[in-house]
Symmetry: C2
C-alpha cells in the first residue's frame, strides 16, 4: 500500500476529545474514526488489525470444535420477555413497519436457544459448540475509554450445549485453554489472567480474562503463584484467598476485562424448554455455557499495553502491515531504489506499507512511530545501496544489504 | 467436516412457510434459518457460501483501488435531516440512553460523506474509493422471497469521490467491469445484464445488474445484440429502443437486481458541503458515485438459477465444500476405506464434507443433491477399491481409482 493513497492522512495532533491512550493513538493514527460516543468507524489500518484478531479467534474456536454461524442483530422482544431480560437497561428498542416490537441484540442467548431447540432433540446431537463473530449493540448511558466500551462493537460469542454438568466442565476447561492461546497470540499473554468473577444469580463463579494495565476499570487481586486472579467483587466471597492455593498474599491491580466465560447451567434452556432425549428415552435439560471476546476491546487493550509515548508498538501477529518502508529523500535516483524495494518486498509476499509521501523526514518518522508497524525500513541518501532496518520496539537501527533485510524480515515473522 | 457433527441435520421436508425456490432449498438444506420475516441466521453451510462471495467481491474491489473500511450501523438522525432522508419509510428509528435520536443504517451516504469531509481537503486526496462489507437494516413493510429482500442483510457498498465528472465516468466504467467479473465468478455471468434504470431525481440514468430468472420481481427489456437491458421503468424514456444500438427488438424478461451502480453527482457532497481545493486554490464540489451488491441476494439468486427439482447446484467458486464424500455402508471394512479417503482428501487440502451418518442410502443421496456440493464421491460395498465420482450437474457417475479421483478433483477446481 502506498501511504500517499491511504485513507486517511495521519493527524499531526492527538484528538482533543479522547482521554484514553488507546483512543488517542488509534484516532490520531487513523485506525478508527469517532462517529459519536461509543460508535466508531474502522478505517483501513484499523480494519486490518481487527481482521487479524478475528482470524486468530476463529482458528482457536474451530480448534475446539466450534462451528461458525451468523445470527441477526434484530431480535423479537418477545424472546426477552421469556427470559425476563426485556427490561435490562442496555437494550435498544425499536419497532418494525408492521408494528412488531424489536430489540437490537446485546447478546444472543435469546436467539440461539430457540434456534438450537428447533434443530436438535437427541443426545446424539450433543455436545454442540456454536459461535459467531458479529456486532452487538448496548445502549450504555456513558460509553467511554475509546473502543474499550462501545455502544456498537464486534464480538465473538460462543455457546456450548451439553448433556450434563460433567461434559460442560470438560469443555469449559478447553475454552480456558483456547482463550489463553488467543490472548498469547494477540500479544496480551504475559499480562492476562484467568480471574474468578461473580456468577450472577444462577452460578457460583464465572471467569473473566483480565489484562493488567493502569488504564483498567476493574480491580483484581492477583495470585502470582497460580497466575490467576480474583475480581474485587468476589474477594469477600473467597475470604481474601486464592481459590486455588489458598495463598492470602494477593496483589491488587487495575485490569481490563478482555474476555469472559460463563456457566449458564440451565437458565436459558429452562426458559425456552430446551431439552434432549437421553439414551433411556428420558427428557433432560441441556446444560449451557457462553464465552465472549470483544474484538475492539482486545485491539484497544493491546494499544494500552503495547505503546510508548510516541505511539503504538503492534505485536507482529496483529500488525496492520509487516513492514513500513520509508523513503526519506526527494532525489529521483533514491526514489527509484525505494520503488524497487517496494516492488521486491511485495513480490516476496511481504505485507508492506510504503511511505512515498512528500513529507519531511520528521513527519514521516513520527508517523511511523505512531502507527507502530513492527519493522521500519529507511531508504535515503545516507543508506546508499543498503537499507536501514529498525524494529519498533528497539532503539538500534541496523544498516543491512537488501538480501539481509529480507532474511531478517522472514526470520522475525517466522519465529 | 463430519456431517454427523454438522449443525444442523438436513430436514426431510421443505419449509411450509417459504414460497420462493431459494428459501425452500436454503432452509431445508440448513444453509439459513428464519428468525422472523426478512431476518435470517446463517448456519455453518450458508455462512461458508457467504464468506466465499464476500472474498470474491473484496478481491474485485481491491483490484480497482477500493480501500476497505467498516462503518457503524447506528447513525445520528440529524445527518438524515441534512440530506432530507429522515422521513423515508425504510428507516428504523431508535433512541440512545442519553436521548439522542438514532436510525439504523439503510445505506451509508450520510456517514461516509461527513467522514470524508473530516479527512480530506485537497485535489491530491482524490480520487478516493472506499468500500465496506457490512450489515444494512431496512424496515420493509413486506419482506419476501427468502433472502432476496431482507430487513437485515449484508451488503458491499462502495463510494467513489472525484474531482470532476470526467474522472467519475472513467471509474464508473471500471466498476462496471469489476461487477461483471464478480457476477461471472459467482456463477451468474451468463444471465446477468447491465441494465439502464432510473437515476432518481438527480441523475439521468443509474445502472442495475439484472439476472434473468422467472423468480425475478423486476421486468427488463433485453437487447441481445449489445448484451444490455433497460428496466421497464425506463423503457418509455428510451422510446423502446436499446440505448446503445437503437435496436427496437427488445425482449421482455423477469429478472432479479443483483447489483446497482449510481452516479450521485454532487447531491450528497452539496448537502454536507464536501469540497476540495483544486490546483488553482479554488474550492470545488466533489463528484460521487455509489455501488452496491447484496451478499444474501447474490446467494439467493445463485440458488434460483443453479438448481433443479432435487436441490441446489453450487457453482464451484462459492460452494460451501468442494467435495461431498458419502459412505453408503455400515460394514467396518468399508467404513475404514471411507475414513482413510476422508483423511487423505483433507491432507491434500481438499475442502471436504464427509457423510458419516447412520442414515439410509436414500436419505444420504437426497441430502447430497439438496445441498449441491459440485463433486460427490461414494464409497460402498459395490465400489470395492475404487470410488464413484459424480458431478452434481451431470447424470454420469464415474468409477475411478483413488489417484484418478484426486486428479479429477484438482483438474476441476483448477480449470
Amino acid at each position: 500500500m502506498r501511504q500517499s493513497k491511504l485513507f486517511s492522512r495521519i493527524s499531526k495532533t492527538p484528538p482533543r476529545e479522547e482521554i484514553s491512550r488507546n483512543a488517542k493513538f488509534l484516532v490520531q493514527g487513523r485506525f478508527i474514526d469517532k462517529l459519536m460516543a461509543g460508535v466508531y468507524t474502522y478505517l483501513p489500518l484499523g480494519l486490518r488489525v481487527i481482521k487479524r484478531i478475528e482470524q486468530i479467534i476463529r482458528e482457536e474456536m474451530n480448534a475446539i470444535g466450534g462451528q461458525e454461524i451468523y445470527m441477526p442483530a434484530l431480535h423479537p422482544l418477545e424472546n426477552y420477555i421469556i427470559t425476563k431480560r426485556d427490561k435490562i437497561d442496555v437494550l435498544f428498542h425499536l419497532e418494525s413497519a408492521s408494528g412488531k416490537k424489536l430489540v437490537l441484540g446485546q447478546s444472543h442467548e435469546e436467539i440461539i436457544v430457540p434456534l438450537v431447540k428447533k434443530h436438535i432433540s437427541s443426545y446424539k446431537d450433543l455436545p454442540l459448540y456454536l459461535y459467531q463473530i458479529q456486532v452487538k449493540f448496548r445502549n450504555e448511558l456513558r460509553a467511554k475509554s475509546g473502543i474499550l466500551r462501545g455502544r456498537e462493537f464486534a464480538m465473538k460469542d460462543l455457546y456450548s450445549f451439553h448433556k450434563d454438568e460433567n461434559d460442560f466442565e470438560k469443555y469449559y476447561q478447553s475454552v480456558q485453554a483456547a482463550y489463553h492461546n488467543i490472548f498469547r497470540r494477540v500479544g496480551l499473554g504475559d499480562l492476562t489472567y484467568l480471574t474468578y468473577a461473580s456468577g450472577g444469580t444462577f452460578s457460583k463463579y464465572s471467569h473473566e480474562f483480565q489484562t493488567i494495565t493502569p488504564a483498567g476499570e476493574d480491580n483484581i487481586f492477583l495470585c502470582e503463584k497460580c497466575k490467576i486472579a480474583v475480581n474485587k467483587e468476589m474477594i469477600e466471597a473467597v475470604e481474601h484467598r486464592c481459590p486455588q492455593c489458598e495463598n492470602d498474599d494477593l496483589k491488587l491491580k487495575k485490569a481490563i476485562e478482555v474476555g469472559n466465560i460463563f456457566p449458564l447451567k440451565t437458565k436459558f434452556s429452562d426458559a425456552f424448554d430446551l431439552k434432549y432425549i437421553d439414551q433411556a428415552g428420558q427428557k433432560k435439560p441441556i446444560v449451557m455455557g457462553c464465552y465472549g471476546i470483544g474484538l475492539g476491546r482486545v485491539m484497544g487493550t493491546v494499544v494500552e499495553i503495547n505503546s510508548d509515548q510516541k505511539g503504538i508498538i503492534w505485536p507482529k501477529a496483529i500488525a496492520p502491515y509487516e513492514v513500513h518502508l520509508i523513503l526519506l529523500d526527494k532525489q529521483p535516483k533514491i526514489k527509484e531504489i525505494a520503488e524497487k524495494a517496494y516492488n521486491s518486498l511485495q513480490k516476496q509476499g511481504v505485507q508492506v506499507i510504503y511511505d512515498d509521501r512528500l513529507e519531511s523526514a520528521g513527519v514521516k518518522l513520527n508517523d511511523a512511530d505512531l502507527i507502530g508497524i513492527p519493522i521500519r525500513l529507511i531508504i535515503s541518501e545516507k543508506t546508499k545501496d543498503k537499507i536501514e532496518l529498525k524494529f519498533r520496539n528497539s532503539q538500534q537501527p541496523l544498516l543491512l544489504s537488501q538480501d539481509k533485510v529480507m532474511e531478517t524480515i522472514t526470520e522475525y515473522y517466522q519465529s
